[in-house]
Symmetry: C2
Subunit: 446 residues, 2 copies
């Protein structure tokens, strides 16, 4: 790998240039801004690598860009790089220190929307492929690339692409779109994500708000909603019958990895300004909950008058947005049925459920060759043992991929992903490329 | 009274002109717009009547305008006219068919902010006084006028004016600021109002919103709030210990009046688009609840993300605005202590209570001379027996007045008070003036 690493080192500036080119091209899935142009750019870049790319378009949403480079020496094994070329909206613009689509380097960091999430990873993977091709004149195994354009809006059509073009997603292992180091610079091998069921509960009583003196005789949708919500949880337990039926318990091995992983409890608490976690959880309980506790979170609630001071209004309607995080093997389609049944049983058949998002959880075993390769490569590149994270507390469409997945890359903490002044520490751009390149090579040889 | 009624009829246009002048002068207590100018206008109008008015200003909020006309033939009895010169904000402006401060007459109705609430009543009372003075050269008893400028923001300083200038409020009877006919044109004698305790409950956990994946370990203020709210009510019963201790039961006589009063249940249900009242209440139960049931209404609730679609956020803060309507002899100062104690007992000492408004209920007995006078005068003017309403379901600062109060006047249903296209049916402007004039005369003679 020495010649590959050397190529990466001596072509650092060209990687930065590529990243800058990608960030200069807006690609906001939520608004559609620049999506067409950025998918064309992705297509061109894969074409320059010789990946015979194609644009796939099911006629709705952003198109998918995919390509493949066959390995001469090892054509029987395939690695898939899953990335996304879309970015979050840049707003609020006034909080950026430099324009979001004008990449700017300050103190070794590049600033711009998408520079970290996910164009930094995307550029890194294109450049490490180039490194193999220019030094070895080959790739260690077949390289497949899938760049989607809707990750930031819940990958809403990715499942349809998987169904329509299954061959694009067939692989022996997947390098997931994100990954990197923890706040102290230690590499993290993330092996899973939680699932999600996101719903809105709505109680509608009257066609308009009324004077609150009518509260004596007219049903109040806010009270209906509060009553319905209150049946969902008791303390930290979700009370919907059967909710935990399919929850897979941690294996002994998983518990071992959770115990070993560090957690920056103090930094998190200081950042949020809180004194304790729920129920005074210990750090070990916190780590277990983040990786494996099914949750029921009110993300938003609204009804009636919410301005300054007092207004005596009886609301006509009330709603709450609820995010259930799921763990293996919970199924959002099954759970929404259980939620519906529960509300009816509890006397809240009038509370409407609107399904908004559903994704299953997924975990890859640390024993999978791709996980082992990522671990050894991390030790090689960073000279320190990586943190094995059984599952991120977040969610992604990993369950759509049959092959084992590892999330590794050139990301760093405090990159302000999704926020103003998103940035990429350029040291980790290089380190991440080496880590992924070495992982893929070890995986190909395994 | 014939000459007084004739004067009112033949000077209808001049009454309309006065109303138009008052409505043209904005006077929004919430923003302060035009308050100074409108209090000056009120002062000038009372001065033109010979009421020796004065502006009272405690240095905070809107000033109070008050004056008195002594009766020559009956100086031992005093009636007080309580009105307000302030109006609700005119927003949303785009929903008005004509500008809110440019009074416009269409189909026998004048449109404009405050035309009904309360400048129509204020103008009517000035003009009926003029009618007595121009025909009898006297008033039937002493006439006191109190025009406050903060009714639409909860009469927040009126109690201080009562304490500082008790002589302004000393009277044998009070003609309340509102009153009129029901949807079918039958006059209503309203003898009371409910009280109110308006509070905001706030749960604050973190200094900012966080990613909802942290819901597994960080307390959610929306759940805290839902839990706290849920302890306040069980079905329609308020569960705060001692809440009903001071509730005065209806007398047999009051129940008789409630039974006799018609209630436009169908029209109310159609207007709101509802099928039933709470718990399928009968019309008699509805009337009893409106007049005498203590309520606990969520007027507004808010936390986290409330826009379109889904956003995975763990809120840092949540709040609800609660309106408790009170009945005699509940005391808001006592009840807020009970609420505080209850939340602590229930384990919600972290939920903050912000006191926003507190007013006691008040009822005047139908046996009071002023009530009897209003009833007989209604029969005289409208040629139909009036509806006796023991208590409005709404609230006002009636409890600050020692004397018996009746709410009668020239109002009509569907006047859009507090809403766009507020209007005044000009037929009732005249009828209301006659009704109030005859009431006052009968009261003076009683």
């Amino acid at each position: 790998m020495k010649e590959v690493f050397d190529y990466i080192d001596s072509n650092k500036d060209s990687a930065i240039e590529l990243l800058s080119k990608l960030v200069s091209q807006p690609s906001v899935a939520a608004t559609g801004q620049g999506i067409k142009e950025c998918s064309d750019l992705g297509l061109r870049l894969l074409d320059e690598l010789g990946a015979n790319p194609k644009l796939y378009d099911i006629g709705e949403g952003s198109p998918l860009v995919a390509g493949e480079i066959k390995s001469k020496k090892n054509p029987s094994k395939t690695i898939l790089f899953y990335n996304h070329y879309d970015v979050q909206p840049p707003e609020p613009l006034e909080l950026w220190d430099s324009p979001p689509f004008t990449p700017t380097i300050r103190d070794g960091k590049m600033y711009g929307r998408g520079v970290s999430d996910d164009k930094g990873e995307l550029a890194g993977r294109l450049k490490l492929t180039e490194a193999f091709l220019r030094t070895w004149m080959d790739v260690p195994c077949n390289f497949k690339f899938v760049f989607e354009g809707e990750e930031e809006i819940g990958s809403i059509h990715l499942g349809q692409y998987v169904k329509k073009y299954p061959e694009l997603f067939k692989a022996d292992g997947v390098i997931w779109e994100f990954g990197g180091v923890n706040p102290k610079g230690r590499p993290q091998v993330v092996l899973g994500v939680k699932g999600i069921l996101y719903v809105q509960l709505t109680s509608k009583v009257a066609k308009k708000d009324a004077h609150s003196s009518l509260g004596a005789v007219v049903q109040n949708p806010a009270w209906r909603l509060v009553g319905a919500l209150n049946t969902l949880k008791k303390g930290e337990k979700i009370m919907i019958p059967g909710w935990y039926d399919d929850v897979r318990k941690f294996t002994k091995e998983e518990l071992g990895w959770i115990r070993k992983a560090p957690y920056e409890a103090k930094a998190i608490k200081a950042d949020l300004g809180i004194k304790n976690f729920i129920d005074n959880m210990s750090v070990e309980e916190v780590k277990k909950a983040l990786a494996g506790k099914p949750t029921c979170t009110i993300c938003g609630i609204y009804s009636g008058y919410t301005g300054e001071g007092s207004k005596t209004v009886l609301p006509g309607e009330a709603f709450a947005k609820i995010d259930f995080r799921l763990v293996p093997d919970q199924d959002p389609d099954d759970l929404i049925r259980k939620l519906r049944k529960h509300l009816v049983t509890q006397g809240y058949e009038d509370v409407k459920i609107t399904y908004s998002e559903g994704e299953k959880a997924k975990r890859t075993s640390p024993k999978e060759p791709i996980a082992i390769a990522a671990k050894i490569a991390a030790e090689e590149v960073y000279k320190s043992p990586p943190i094995i994270e059984i599952s991120s507390a977040g969610t992604g469409p990993m369950y759509l991929f049959d092959a084992p997945c590892v999330a590794i890359g050139g990301g760093h903490s405090f990159s302000n992903a999704h926020a103003p002044n998103e940035n990429k520490d350029l040291r980790y751009l290089v380190m991440g490329m080496k880590w992924v390149a070495d992982t893929v090579n070890r995986f190909a040889e395994a």
